[in-house]
Amino acid sequence: MDYGLSERPADAAPLPTGIKILIAGGFGVGKTTLVGAVSETRPLRTEEVLTETGVGIDDLSGVEQKTTTTVAMDFGRITISDDLVLYLFGTPGQDRFWFVWDELALGAIGAVVLADTRRLADCFPSIDYFEGRGTPFVVAVNCFEGAKRYRLDEVQSALDLDPGVPVVLCDARQRESVKEVLITLLEHAMKQREERRRAAAAD
């Protein structure tokens, strides 16, 4: 058979590598808006269908008891270079999908926790999760119109954050603003890596 012209040439450039940043926060806080503000494509939605086999259910009927749940994640893409493609994943809002978070968080270079000062407690689960996992994160306060403006140190103390965790204001609709948030995250992640390395060397 002759596939000559239609095959990908053996000397084609190597495929780029994918990397990811997670965008977390409560329901309706603007995660997808933030992703859309910097993504080169409109935000896409991907779905995982989860099947949980019922445990401890009487199986007299001989029918397996299963429930399926669909978890949706919105994401966007930024081509960094010929070698790197960055994906921004909005994490599923419900706490009961932690196991999906584990897959998402694996290998993530960091996370943005998007906060709304009117419902600050909504971002507690995300903060607890990333603290527990050691994933570098920043808190970005989305400036909703009509929301009372708090000082960043007030937000920091209300969230009981480690003093090293950056808290920044942002407008999730604005590309430049979101860019700044991501740059702050990268700088923080690199600093944290350096500190951990130093701490490990000092042991």
């Binding site: 058979m1 596939y3 012209l5 239609s6 095959e7 990908r8 190597p14 495929l15 780029p16 590598t17 994918g18 990397i19 990811k20 910097v38 896409l44 939605r45 991907t46 779905e47 995982e48 269908v49 669909t70 994640m73 994401f75 893409r77 930024i78 960094i80 270079s81 070698d83 790197l84 493609v85 960055l86 994906y87 994943f89 897959e103 998402l104 694996l106 290998g107 270079i109 590309r175 860019k179 991501l182 740059i183 990268l186 700088e187 992640a189 690199m190 890596r193």
Partner: protein, 129 residues
């Protein structure tokens, strides 16, 4: 005769009803790919322009090869085909086994994280946006 207010024949089911073909039917009941793990951000490219002559492929396989003429992540393939990620992983496994696509898994150190050069590159890339 179609009365007013009755849906036309081709509208017998709407988007909210979900896919007409269940995901497992697309994979022939298989839940796991024959090969590969396929992270959401693994990148996929087709090795061929056309797979018309390959037997044993379903329309979804053919659609993936068409879509991946340009590099796409596993998540993007799932989103564009409107299929669950698990289903897409099975289909990609079939295509890898036939060498119809190449896949690049995310680069990671033993700790599960990219190395320093990646952080530098992303930071520079973001600043240049």
């Amino acid at each position: 005769m179609t009365g007013q207010g009755e849906p036309a024949e081709d509208e017998w089911v709407d988007d909210h009803a979900g896919p007409v073909v269940r995901p497992y039917a697309v994979t022939g009941g298989r839940a796991r790919p024959v090969t590969g793990t396929f992270d959401l951000i693994s990148l996929v490219i087709s090795t061929r322009v056309d797979v018309g002559s390959e037997s044993g492929l379903g329309p979804e396989h053919v659609a993936i090869v068409g879509l991946c003429q340009r590099i796409q992540s596993v998540a993007e393939v799932a989103a564009h085909l409107d299929l669950p990620v698990g289903t897409v992983r099975v289909l990609l496994g079939d295509l890898v086994a036939r060498s119809l696509v190449q896949v690049r898994e995310p680069r990671a150190t033993p700790a599960g994280l990219p190395d320093d050069s990646v952080f530098e590159a992303v930071l520079n890339g973001l600043r240049a946006l």
